[in-house]
């Protein structure tokens, strides 16, 4: 009853083609973004910023990237960690060698570098599909991890192989407190999510979805697979590279190649599977789930006042996390975004049963 679009008449094509055609949706998103920008800084603690908001937002950007590639274009990729590393080290090297560069250019450069590497490692997708492509991208993950550990130029010949970044400044304002980092990362996430949503609604997105659904038929009706697949790899790697640079600069501060290992790739893949393949909202929901549930499970025994040794807590967290993932995938294989869509559907009738 509350969610009906009764009385909302579109008077122009632009209005009809809006991302959120229903006014309630539009209002909800506007209020949510305003809340995130204005209200959250009023009550968030430092722990909330550094352990909840910032990791979730940065990994959401990576999840959007992987969703574009795997969810919309159907190219299974296990190389996200490696592309994040490319973004991180590209940003580090640019900031190191040209210190006066604007930080936005640094992150754009990181994205572009990751884009080039992504296109290179996406070339096998023109020949192989499905699991075989997954293995090829897994090879890219291991290769990039190896490259950053062995080629000393990337780490500025640091003896320990670990690099650190100094203060980040945007137009003279230092971005050093968690609050400022949160606002910056939120702004980047909102802009990139909006861009992604528009991309997947447009011609490019439809090309990707056609390739995903039936690539031979898509080729027959005139969609060039090379163009579609490589553009998916390119844009996806751009997003993942930017996310990698943000992760390195704002979350880690100092990192070694192990921070972008195969577990990171799996983590991003699990985010989009749980969140919902082929949705932008699913990237955010999946990122929140994968980041927050382990922390929540870890702290639950102390909140409930149950005294347990730390290794028991860790083991239980591991088991419960796996069980929750299995439960969610059985209840809704299409992910949390589908659960949200079903909730909205039910809101059309609520509170009436019919």
């Amino acid at each position: 009853m509350l969610y009906r679009e009764v009385g909302q008449f579109k008077t122009s094509y632009t209005a009809d083609q809006a991302i959120f055609p229903i006014a309630q949706d539009r209002w909800f998103v506007v209020v949510l973004v305003a809340f995130a920008f204005l209200a959250v800084p009023l009550f968030a603690s430092q722990y909330f910023y550094t352990e909840v908001l910032i990791p979730v937002l940065i990994l959401s950007i990576a999840a959007i990237g992987l969703n574009i590639l795997t969810g919309y274009c159907g190219q299974l990729s296990l190389g996200s960690g490696g592309f994040m590393a490319v973004g991180a080290y590209a940003a580090y090297n640019l900031a190191l060698r040209l210190p006066q560069t604007n930080i936005i250019l640094v992150f754009l450069f990181a994205g572009v570098m990751a884009m080039l590497v992504g296109v290179l490692f996406g070339l096998p997708s023109l020949r192989i599909k499905g699991f075989y492509l997954a293995v090829a991208t897994l090879a890219s993950q291991f290769f990039l991890e190896w490259a950053f550990a062995r080629v000393k130029w990337f780490t500025n010949y640091a003896p320990s192989g670990s690099v650190a970044v100094g203060r980040v400044e945007l137009f003279g304002i230092p971005i050093d407190t968690p609050g400022r980092i949160y606002i910056f990362v939120l702004a980047v996430a909102v802009v990139l999510a909006l861009a992604a949503k528009n991309l997947v609604r447009g011609r490019l997105g439809r090309m990707w979805m056609a390739i995903r659904d039936m690539d031979i038929a898509a080729e027959i009706i005139g969609i060039r697979p090379l163009h579609a697949k490589l553009s998916a790899f390119a844009i996806s790697s751009f997003y993942i590279g930017v996310a990698g640079a943000l992760w390195a600069f704002f979350r880690l501060g100092s990192w070694e190649p192990l921070a972008f290992d195969v577990n990171r790739s799996f983590q991003v893949l699990f985010m989009i599977i749980i969140g919902g393949l082929g949705t932008i909202l699913g990237s955010f929901l999946g990122a929140a789930f994968i980041v927050l549930v382990p922390i929540f499970l870890n702290q639950l025994p102390s909140w409930l006042g149950i005294g347990m040794s730390t290794d028991t807590i860790s083991h239980i967290e591991f088991m419960l996390f796996g069980a929750i993932i299995v439960f969610f995938l059985i209840v809704e294989p299409h992910g949390l975004a589908r659960l949200w869509a079903i909730a909205k559907e039910k809101l059309r009738l609520w509170p009436f049963p019919y």
Binding site: E51, G161, A164, L252, L258, A259, G305, T310
Partner: protein, 444 residues
């Protein structure tokens, strides 16, 4: 119909009340307590070595509380958080625990070079010192750049130098090393890469050939590495592993037939958990010591009386002589003495991280004081200063004889004429990378 909605409403209210109660059910800390977080790993590939260390630390805090009633009456409250040796979980544990207690965390002991690197970025802003006893960045010994890092008792350059001095002594002098091959089998992480700089410098000085063999985390895949070692036939192998990598390395050495008496591990590769899996094969394996050896000593009388006889012990009594357990005791002792030193200046109350940092930087443990504490024979006098956050730079070599670790050398002190310039250069590099102005911190 009415009955059903009414009971559902009641259930909803009850649930909300329960959740509300749970959310506010955090335990309240009394005011006269010192909170110390304990970042441990009791799970994961590095747990075999992490567990005894964590037990040692926990037992020492319990002993201080039971025997002395705390540090000058201020009880120690410690909380463990499992990091699994993963950097991001270590940072999450740190963020969660750093603000607890009336004055926040006193100090943090990460027991992981990776987590130390990550926390080095955060600790100065949060004003919490990091005690990285026997690990961490080798250049963090320079307190004017790394004001909040304390690699007490030894860094990896110290360790590598001690091992090379011993090898040179066995060969008859550093000049006899010319033309020899010394291999380094290391964990492919900042921890394992730390000694490479010193190895290469000494190789340049004395003409031996360093061979580097990285092993990927977690270190169970070493067959290829040891086949290469069998091909290359180095004169000595230095092992820089941790967790299961150590025991795997020794077992692979047995399989490949490399003489274990030519193998020298760093002090983190020389524990009972590393040699026991190879059973008889590890006999003759050597490692450096972080000053102390294995076996119970004077402190254990008090440990038994005040902790274990009351059933409060974290480990099993049979394991309280193990090397890593003893190391945990020593690490906790250094932290407690730092708090005590700080209390002498700032008053006998809970200390803030800043004050504990001052305590660490002015830590001066004389031989008499160590005897008083019960650590005679295990730790040599420690004197920390702003220029020298290491405090002591000495160690011995121990050898496994199949049942126990036995000291097999005299005391070596690392050569500062080689290391000090390296520290200065690396610290200056860090300062310029991070745009810091070096200088000793003053705390009032």
């Amino acid at each position: 119909m009415t009955g059903k909605t009414m009971s559902r409403k009641h259930a909803g209210i009850a649930l909300a009340a329960l959740l509300g109660a749970l959310a506010t059910a955090a335990p309240a800390l009394a005011q006269n307590e010192q909170f110390v977080p304990n970042l441990v790993y009791r799970t994961g590939a590095y747990a075999p070595n992490g567990v005894p260390f964590a037990n040692g630390i926990a037992d020492y805090y319990k002993l201080i509380n039971e025997r002395d009633g705390g540090i000058n009456g201020v009880k120690i409250v410690f909380e463990e958080c499992d990091t699994g040796y993963a950097t991001d979980r270590g940072v999450e544990c740190y963020e969660r625990l750093k603000g607890k207690g009336p004055t926040g965390a006193a100090y943090v002991i990460p027991l992981s070079t990776g987590i130390t690197f990550a926390l080095t970025e955060k600790a100065p802003a949060d004003k919490i010192p990091i005690i990285s006893m026997g690990y961490g960045r080798s250049e963090s010994r320079d307190g004017s750049v790394f004001q909040w890092n304390f690699p007490l008792l030894g860094t990896y350059w110290t360790a590598a130098d001690i091992l090379l001095q011993h090898i040179a002594k066995k060969e008859g002098g550093f000049d006899r090393l010319k033309g020899k091959k010394i291999a380094l089998v290391y964990h492919d992480s900042p921890y394992g890469k730390e000694p490479i700089a010193l190895l290469q410098k000494r190789a340049q000085m004395h003409g031996f050939e360093p061979l580097l063999f990285p092993v990927t985390h977690p270190g169970v895949e070493q067959k290829a590495t040891w086949l290469q070692i069998r091909q290359n036939r180095p004169d000595y192998v230095l092992l820089w592993g941790w967790g299961v990598m150590n025991s795997t390395a020794i077992k692979e050495a047995v399989a490949v037939g490399y003489p274990r008496d030519k193998m020298y591990g760093v002090w983190w590769s020389g524990a009972e958990q590393d040699v026991r899996p190879a059973e008889g094969g590890a006999t003759g394996y050597n490692s450096a010591t972080l000053q102390h050896t294995s076996g119970r000593f004077k402190l254990h009388e008090d440990l038994k009386k005040y902790v274990y006889d009351k059933g409060q012990g974290t480990a099993r009594w049979e394991d309280t002589g193990e090397i890593l357990y003893v190391r945990g005791l020593i690490n906790a002792m250094l932290g407690v003495e730092a708090i005590r030193t700080a209390q002498e200046k700032f008053g006998k109350k809970p200390m803030t991280g800043e004050q504990v940092r001052w305590g660490l930087e002015n830590l001066n443990l004389t031989a008499d004081r160590l005897k008083q504490l019960g650590f005679e024979g295990e730790v040599k006098p420690v004197k920390v200063s702003c220029e020298d956050h290491e405090g002591a730079r000495t160690g011995r070599i121990q050898t496994w004889d199949g049942k126990d670790w036995k000291i097999s050398s005299d005391w070596y002190t690392s050569d500062d004429s080689v290391i000090a310039p390296m520290v200065k250069e690396a610290a200056a590099r860090y300062a310029s990378e991070k745009k810091l102005t070096p200088g000793c911190l003053v705390t009032n």
